[in-house]
Symmetry: C2
Subunit: 355 residues, 2 copies
């Protein structure tokens, strides 16, 4: 099966590696404008052959993955469809879907979005297992070819991902909620806090770990995010307006000094957070373990090794140092009641009581 | 010097430990309603003596730290002032200041707020070095005794903290910006995302690492946060309203599809974030290193040990696993150009290219 990959970066490169490793008889053709980058992709084993021409690459192809940046996708996918054979499924990997899907009326096109790998970029970071266990959204329309959908679905499964068919509007609303809105709020938070820097006489704000956590994604790469914000602008604006309504209500309770309303609101957030984590993560409810440790590099190692030996895996962790950098609080997230209890015991044995 | 500590939990216990360790001739009297907890504090060396009576504890005291919960402080501080000798400085450790300071007209009272230790609670977590390098806000008024202010200042320095005198209003506005508003936004984010859980037919939202980072503080303990929200309600409402204005502007740019405005907004957030981090952290600009690693417990250890050997300290780190829990992206924050370059080399040598 010949598979074309247009744009061989982190995602395109990983698709190539996964296809070459997992799909019997796969031949992967990389398409791109940078000969250097295509050569690098070949060296890394992400593609079998390289091409600077779409037409040439798509000859005899059964599937084509358009992996360009979100803003370039409408044009890239249209060009791909123009060059692709009649029985070739064409998909993309962009993180917004509605606008792209609406712009194309072709039964060979099925929108896609693997939820993976946002933290790094470049074919150097590509890996065959990038999609292992990841959700891979697919947005078929009624006019989409069933045969081609099935082929794409099988490829996604072969890459180790979990295909989830979803309406393009729903997809964009979900992503606006869990990804784009958090980015917007992080941007607002840093800009609001930075305003204090320019006030002159006042002491500078000391941003603590909770602020750093809340703003880790602030000011994410404009080359990626400008396109995402614009492509999903209406859904993001909807989410912002809902957030504004919620915020206005909270501000009202605070101005009125309504303790019962404030407490009910905070409790329902605690409940919502728990439900989200439970829905999101397999392996049982996730436990959050908080401990205070000296901020020596060795401590992270010590804790990680102790849990590793006992086969307790750390779902997520943060180490937030105190201002002196000599101590800090470590938060570990462990999935499953038994694992969490085991972790609590082990960490206690190391001399760090879990709070 | 006799020092009374009213409420011997994480902060009160750490004050006791620090005073007994760092202040020559200090005798620390713990005051509280729970005899069990006072006995525990004595076992842990946090206090020399315990008392259930304020009057008895304050006899001959030179300084008193009121360490009750924010909501109980006005009453606790008033009672303390009533019982305290004429030359005793009385302070508190609450994370909001304006309301408390306004309610008390006594030259012996100086508001305080050590910025430390929010992640755990209880005297079990108390440590003598909790305040090492931490900012300790002090909110003297014009009527405050200079002599007593000097005494408190020296104690705070002896505890290893950095006293920062600040107007109570400014303090509350700063904290509203860098701590309380992030909590409010985290609550709003989780509740908005959880709404999707109840929509029925739609796929569940997959919350990724950026969502988890942004909402780590959501639904924080109501027993602590209800009081904070109420005590600083006006300043928090001000910050919320400013955030609402910023959000409304962004929503407008998105609805209009104004790419230039969206990009300028995102770029200024990136710039603001960089400025905040540089202002906040000593040791030079903070570099963010992103790498992809297998999600084996041993990997964190391997990276931490390699950096530890080279004396590169990790300011902050997160490990965000991919959906399959088999791999993940690790983000390390390293202060200083040289240290960051060294870290990049070392991590590269381990086989994990830094993105």
């Amino acid at each position: 099966m010949r598979i074309a990959v247009v744009g061989v970066g982190l995602i395109g490169g990983s698709i190539g590696l996964a296809a070459r490793e997992q799909v019997e008889g796969a031949e992967v053709i990389g398409v791109g404008r940078s000969r250097r980058r295509l050569e690098r992709a070949m060296e890394l084993g992400a593609i079998d052959r390289a091409s600077e021409s779409l037409e040439w690459a798509l000859e005899g192809a059964s599937a084509c993955f358009a992996c360009g940046p979100v803003g370039a996708l409408p044009e890239q996918v249209a060009a791909t469809l123009a060059a692709a054979p009649e029985d070739c499924v064409v998909t993309d990997v962009g993180s917004t879907k509605r606008r792209l899907v609406e712009s194309l009326a072709d039964e060979r096109f099925i929108g896609g979005h693997p939820v993976a790998g946002a933290e790094t970029s470049g074919v150097e970071h590509a890996r065959a297992d990038l999609f292992q266990g990841a959700v891979w959204y697919l947005t078929p329309l009624e006019r989409s070819s069933g045969l081609l959908y099935e082929r794409l679905h099988r490829l996604v499964v072969a890459f180790g991902a979990r295909p989830v068919a979803i309406d393009a509007n729903t997809h964009d609303r979900l992503l606006a909620t869990v990804s784009h809105l958090p980015h917007v709020l992080a941007n607002v938070l840093v800009s609001q806090a930075a305003r204090e820097l320019t006030r002159g006489d006042d002491p500078l704000p000391r941003v603590g770990p909770s602020f750093r956590d809340a703003t880790r994604v602030a000011g994410a790469s404009s080359s990626v995010w400008r396109d995402i914000y614009l492509a999903n602008g209406q859904a993001i604006a909807d989410e912002i307006e809902e957030a504004v309504a919620r915020l206005t209500e909270v501000a009202g309770s605070l101005r009125a000094g309504d303790g019962a309303a404030v407490e009910a609101w905070n409790e329902s957030a605690a409940d919502d957070r728990r439900r989200l984590l439970e829905a999101d993560l397999v392996g049982g409810p996730v436990h959050e373990l908080r401990l205070t440790v000296p901020n020596r590099p060795g401590i992270v190692a010590q804790v990680a090794l102790a849990l590793g030996k006992a086969d307790v895996n750390i779902v997520d962790m943060t180490l937030a140092p105190a201002a002196d950098m000599r101590s800090g609080s470590m938060t570990l997230w462990i999935a499953g009641d038994d694992q969490a209890a085991r972790a609590t015991d082990l960490i206690g044995e190391l001399g760090f009581p879990v709070g």
